[in-house]
Amino acid sequence: MESRLLPLTARPSARRRAAPASPPQRADHAGTLPGQTGPAGAPLAALRGVGVRLGATPVLRAVDLEVGAGQAVGLVGANGSGKTTLLRVLATLLPPTSGSGTVLGASLDSRARFAVRTAIALLGHAPALYPKLTLDENLALVARLLGERPGRATQALEVAGLAGARRRRAAHCSQGMLRRAELARALLTKPRLLLLDEAHAGLDPAASGLVELLVGEVRGRGGAAVLVSHEPRRLRPLVERTVELADGRLQPAEEAGHAR
């Protein structure tokens, strides 16, 4: 699978120039991370006292989080604890109500955040695919919007094991296939910040390898990943540390001590 991925990843993408450049830094997974920071010494993502209210309801409270280059961070928490909201803040899609933060060098409350969005991939609960379009058409749309060749969509689907289903409409695909297609899209977009909600949801063991491949690929390029899961044990091989959201507050995850 790795070798088939190379043509997808080796080619520099013009759109990546939108994000502030930083030299690729590969994490030393055995010990400290030599490249935990982004441009000008800043982490790729840093939140300081971030709070988010949705209507009158506080969803995040004074969240501090840093994710350095080459790092992968696990995020666990009960339903409704604010995990998805935190991912949307990191994706620059949801401005914080209080506090501050930077993502890929752009402040979350500045217009610069629009310029770094193309370097962020967010895979949420619901698939962001058009049900009436085939998997190939869905990914080709992404490729064209990024200024890439539409043929790279087919390559990405092949890597995700969906070569035989690429002409199938998304509406006719199983949840697992949709998740694979979303992972293929993330491979195609070559993000510097990967945000994966319910990282292993709906994936069989073989497809879980695709998550590892994607996370490894992002980290290998000096990017970072934040992975949400209800299964901390499955996160362990992928992340350096795990944090837990409880009632909107971030704290070190008790069971993640192995990683710290």
Partner: protein, 235 residues
């Protein structure tokens, strides 16, 4: 209020390319859903049939009301084309487009382009039905082409704007047409006056200019408000 997104930095070329991609996607989705033409068009044709049934075989009256009825039906049912469900991106799709750097203004323009093309087809297919049922006369028919185009653009832009305003609201299906219909009065007025004026040998240029002005106002409002509306509705 400027539309926000990475396409701004890329310039008008990027904005146009993104808008074309969005329009092509919308049209492909619509072609496979068949919501606009196969479903709404027969309703429009049926509505045109109702007046002759209601007033009976009063041919002079039907002839006089023909184009007026046509424009009323175009606006009532064209609104449904403009705010059709297949033109609505769900929150995950909106997030995806935002992260792909698609400028909200390009999304607005693309959706408007797709809806305008569908509305042109809607009117072109409905016009022969109106002619057959009402025999309104075809004097000044050459003015019909630009009028159909301008009404389509105006209605499409209103539909896209209403779609952005009501995105994510549970009552979107009801609210969006309610927003569009009152604002489409200038389109109705200009459409009927162009065809009536042409029939009586008067130049309809003033009314065409009103249509152009109405279209420009709505398009400008949509492009300028797209960024802010997108930021508000994605929260």
């Amino acid at each position: 209020m400027r539309a926000e997104g990475t396409a701004v930095a890329g310039g008008a070329g990027t904005l146009a390319r993104q808008a074309l991609e969005v329009a092509a996607k919308d049209l492909r989705v619509e072609a496979r859903s068949g919501e606009a033409l196969p479903v709404i068009l027969p309703f429009g044709a049926t509505a045109l049939l109702l007046l002759p049934i209601a007033v009976g075989a009063d041919l002079p009256l039907l002839r006089q009301a023909g184009w007026g009825m046509f424009w009323v039906v175009v606006l009532l049912f064209g609104t449904l084309v403009a705010v059709r469900g297949t033109a609505v991106d769900d929150p995950a799709q909106r997030d995806l487009l935002a992260l792909l750097g698609v400028d909200p203004a390009a999304r607005f323009a693309g959706q408007t382009l797709a809806s305008a093309l569908l509305l042109v087809a809607f009117q072109v297919l409905l016009a022969p039905v109106a002619v057959a049922l009402y025999d309104p006369g075809l004097t000044g028919w050459r003015w019909l082409g630009p009028t159909v185009l301008l009404v389509a653009v105006g209605l499409a832009a209103l539909g896209s704007l209403a779609g952005m305003l009501t995105a994510g609201l549970p009552a979107r299906g009801t609210l969006a047409p309610l927003l569009v219909l009152p604002l489409s009065v200038p389109l109705l007025l200009a459409g009927t006056q162009v065809t009536a004026g042409a029939a009586f040998g008067r130049s309809p240029m003033v009314w065409l200019l009103l249509l152009v002005a109405a279209d420009l106002v709505v398009l400008a409002a949509g492009v300028l408000a797209a960024g802010s509306l997108d930021e508000t509705t994605t929260r």
